[in-house]
Symmetry: C2
Subunit: 154 residues, 2 copies
């Protein structure tokens, strides 16, 4: 059936981060002041036109260091088994990662960003503009995460 | 080189929406009151445990109806050519779509959601919890989108 066909993706870039392995990536990396560099391959550079106008972008990447998954998982936040799709675990059937990051600067095909919680060498799949009226939702219930990460904004 | 390898993904479900083709999908579908049904394949149902606690989820899907892309694109919002990665165009090198939706109800492996702007039959790739302290960012500049979508929240 069509909907069970495989999808083949080729990365559009590579992420250079200060974290050499997953153990070094902070669990709340979105709060980190560390700068990562997103290298968009030269052939896609034109697609970055005017991206400097955005303070935040959505980065989608491939969890390339992670094999396999479990449908119930423990997280760093408590000792309870949670449904995988209520977690941000990197072990997923489709190993796609997503982080909203702050865009600090652009130099040609290189984007310098803050708050990107990925391992050095992570393949980049897509960049989308972060648009509050589309991407922010209120009111909100954050399930079992409630109260675990604090109320402050990232 | 490792970072240029292909990634193969298999859908974890299928999205049933009221929109039979892209022309029917509203440009501001995130505001729509229409209900879509996300069918997570039975083999992944356990991964939905406790998802009812979340009012909003991030849905990642495959733009399966779209072939090819241009790095500079026009959008419904103005007559200017914008860099592809500053738009939400479905024509992308990695045809991944992303929408934050409101979770209305769950019935076993079916999630009823509001605000999902995709064509009926769209393959589902991933579901992640929407967590304001991670996914909401302020202050914000939304580049060329500024003022085009209104200031109200979705």
């Amino acid at each position: 059936m069509e909907e069970k066909q495989s999808l083949e993706l080729k990365p559009i870039g590579i992420i250079h981060s200060p974290y050499k392995n997953m153990g070094e990536v902070p669990h709340q990396g979105y709060k980190s002041e560390e700068i990562s560099q997103i290298e968009v391959f030269k052939e896609f550079e034109e697609g970055l036109k005017d991206i400097e106008g955005f303070s935040h972008i959505i980065v989608i990447y491939w969890f390339h260091k992670f094999q396999g998954y479990h449908l119930l998982v423990k997280t760093p936040w408590d000792d309870v088994l949670h449904g995988l799709f209520t977690t941000r675990s990197p072990h997923r059937p489709c190993p796609l990662g997503l982080t909203v990051v702050e865009l600090i600067a652009r130099e040609e095909n290189i984007l310098k960003v803050k708050g990107l919680d990925v391992v050095d060498g992570t393949p980049l799949l897509d960049i989308k503009p972060y648009i509050p009226s589309i991407d922010e939702k209120l009111p909100i219930k954050a399930g079992w995460f409630e109260g675990k990460l604090g109320k402050e904004r990232g």
